[in-house]
């Protein structure tokens, strides 16, 4: 039971880190892409494919994580260059369509992904001679991922770049007039968020040991979005909290004697209700972003 609890917390932390990464593009520069599950999948499949090949070494995790980060950054940059000049509605529908397309590719490219059968027997990650194959060590790995992701997000937000990003987000026209390169900044944050999502994906695949396209659908992307909305747009700690709450929700529902299928359905319903209620009643989330003027950070 202790092992089960540790595994739950481990997944909650991974999803928390994923929500923090999503918040970098969604909360920092207000770029609503509905394709974050695709970037998460890139990291997960990079590790699953590389680590299950014949002759895979202990360095597979580092190689796969690096490959996943690179691929996600490249795809996000390409996507950003194509779509960012369009009005926001086009970005949303464009990324939604790409997410659907990506799931189709994962399902149909059986030579690489094994299709809907998925990839089983993904080994636990090894890093610097350590193998993360026990619940405690995996919890430590997930915690390290959270520290890294949160550190990067908070670092960006508290730096002068953070102030620039907020200016670009809150009034793009005024920021551009002040000489801020708004679109390149938005693309850079989109790529950074995508890269961190890919890293979280590699850790996820190593911890869970089995992946299939069903974990990376549009619904997953919407679920990740709900984590950020519920936690707090623009607030890294809020997004972490939202990710942890949403990830733990199925287990909490099972405590109410709901069968697995029913719990999944009720969970979906709760996502939808929570997202709708949050934007209507508490649009800034559970832990809203700190406003610069009220905290007196400007000018320090």
């Amino acid at each position: 039971m202790a092992g089960y609890g540790l595994t739950l917390v481990t997944f909650a932390l991974i999803f928390g880190a994923l929500a923090v990464s999503y918040n970098i593009s969604l909360g920092f520069v207000s770029l609503l892409s509905i394709s974050h599950a695709a970037f998460f999948a890139i990291g997960a499949y990079a590790y699953a494919v590389l680590s299950t090949q014949d002759g895979a070494t202990d360095a597979a995790f580092l190689q796969a994580a690096g490959l996943g980060i690179l691929l996600a950054a490249l795809i996000a940059t390409g996507l950003g260059l194509l779509l960012i000049a369009l009005p926001e509605q086009y970005v949303i529908i464009g990324t939604l369509a790409l997410q659907v397309t990506f799931t189709t590719v994962l399902t149909n490219w059986t030579g690489l992904t094994n299709g809907i059968q998925g990839i089983a027997g993904v080994p636990a990650p090894s890093l610097f001679g350590l193998t993360f194959d026990t619940p405690w060590s995996q919890l430590g790995l997930a915690a390290a991922l959270v520290v890294l992701t949160l550190g990067i997000a908070e670092g960006v937000l508290r730096s002068p770049l953070g102030i620039t990003l907020r200016a670009a987000r809150d009034d793009a026209a005024a920021a551009a007039a002040a000489g801020i390169a708004v679109q390149p900044l938005r693309i850079a944050m989109f790529a950074l968020g995508a890269s961190l999502a890919a890293l979280a994906g590699s850790v996820y695949a190593g911890v869970i040991g089995f992946i299939d396209p069903g974990s990376f659908t549009v619904d997953a992307s919407i679920q990740f979005l709900s984590m950020v909305v519920i936690g707090g747009l623009g607030s890294p700690v809020g997004a972490l909290l939202g990710g942890v709450i949403i990830a733990l929700l199925p287990s909490i529902l099972q405590e109410f004697s709901l069968a697995m299928n029913a719990a999944a359905t009720v969970q979906q319903l709760l996502f939808g209700v929570a997202m709708t209620l949050m934007v209507v009643l508490r649009p800034h989330g559970l832990l809203p972003e700190r406003r610069l003027l009220t905290t007196g950070e400007v000018g320090r």
């Binding site: 464009g94 659907v100 399902t107 979005l225 997202m275 934007v279 209507v280």
Partner: protein, 317 residues
């Protein structure tokens, strides 16, 4: 083996009736986006509500098909209006609340989409449900053999779109919508009530979405999430031709359904979705990003050549 050309008449006829159904969604999505600035992603779930209302009417309550279709349209119209009143109006500031994040309507529409779809799943289960399709025989049409019901299906959808287009052009409410799409402030100055016009818009587009779902349910089995793909295709068509209006969106949807059908014939195995989405996205990028950039560049170059060179005296001045 039949050549591709041999399939063409069937493909075109199929595109006609499938695309007409997609167009019912594209019209609703496009008009709400243009008039209210809301991305009504939940319209895909209204498609599902319409489909299951028809199922309830025909398979459970024993209604005839026509009363069941009307029931589906009334229910989806009411749900659509309720969604606007309870969710969209507050987050777009129409009820005088504080300013919301501009992403709020998108997130709200995703939330509503999930809620409606999951409610359908809880009420009817995740497995596909179907009603007996009308037995109307087979007809030869434009060189293709087609179920007569499919011709009816397309005819009903096209009639609804034409009726809707006539409502837009010929009624006070329709003209108010056009005014609202051009300038909400200007519309309010001349006494147009945004809330009243929106109510009519959401009722009408909800009824169209319900009609699309009901027609689909009479043709093939439907699952709670099936409206998502229709919403995606309809929204891509509406975005590709933003100012086209109902008839233009209908033509665009038929063209999209033709691409889909060609994808099925040439590739199949589920790639047809990818082919259609990639084609529509590529068209959007070309028409909305690349061509305007090219046009701007050419126009700048043209101006540079056309402008008279300043004389030395003008330069000094």
């Amino acid at each position: 083996m039949v050549s591709f050309a041999g399939y063409l008449p069937d493909l075109i006829v199929q595109a006609f009736y499938v695309g007409s159904e997609w167009a019912l969604i594209a019209v609703g999505f496009g008009l709400i986006a243009r008039t209210c600035g809301i991305f009504h992603l939940a319209i895909g779930s209204l498609f599902g509500v319409g489909a299951y209302c028809l199922y309830l009417g025909v398979a459970q309550a024993g209604f005839g098909r026509i009363p069941a279709v009307l029931l589906a349209m009334v229910v989806t119209a009411l749900v659509s209006a309720a969604v606007d009143r309870v969710v969209y109006q507050p987050v777009t500031g129409l009820q005088g609340q504080r300013q919301f994040n501009h992403l709020a309507p998108f997130v709200a529409s995703l939330g509503v989409m999930i809620v409606l779809r999951t409610l359908l799943q809880i009420l009817f289960g995740a497995s596909p449900l179907a009603v007996e399709p009308p037995a109307l025989g087979v007809a030869a049409f434009a060189g293709a053999r087609v179920l007569t019901w499919n011709l009816w299906r397309a005819g009903i959808a096209v009639a609804a779109i034409l009726l809707f287009a006539a409502w837009l052009r010929g009624t006070r409410a329709g003209l108010s919508l056009t005014a609202l799409a051009q300038s909400a402030e200007g519309a309010s100055v001349i006494g147009i009530s945004e809330r009243g016009v929106r109510l009519q818009l959401f009722l009408a587009t909800g009824a169209l979405a319900g009609l699309a779902g009901a027609l689909s349910m009479m043709t093939h089995p439907i699952m709670p999430g099936d409206g998502f793909a229709v919403m995606l295709y309809g929204s891509l068509v509406a975005l590709l031709f933003p100012g086209a209006g109902p008839i233009g969106w209908w033509l665009g949807s038929v063209a999209a359904a033709l691409i889909y059908g060609i994808g099925v014939i040439l590739v199949g195995n589920g790639w047809e979705d990818t082919i259609l989405q990639a084609t529509l996205l590529a068209c959007i990028v070309v028409t909305r990003v690349l061509l305007p950039r090219l046009r701007r560049r050419l126009s700048l170059r043209h101006r540079a050549y056309a402008a008279p060179r300043p004389t030395l005296a003008e330069g000094e001045a």
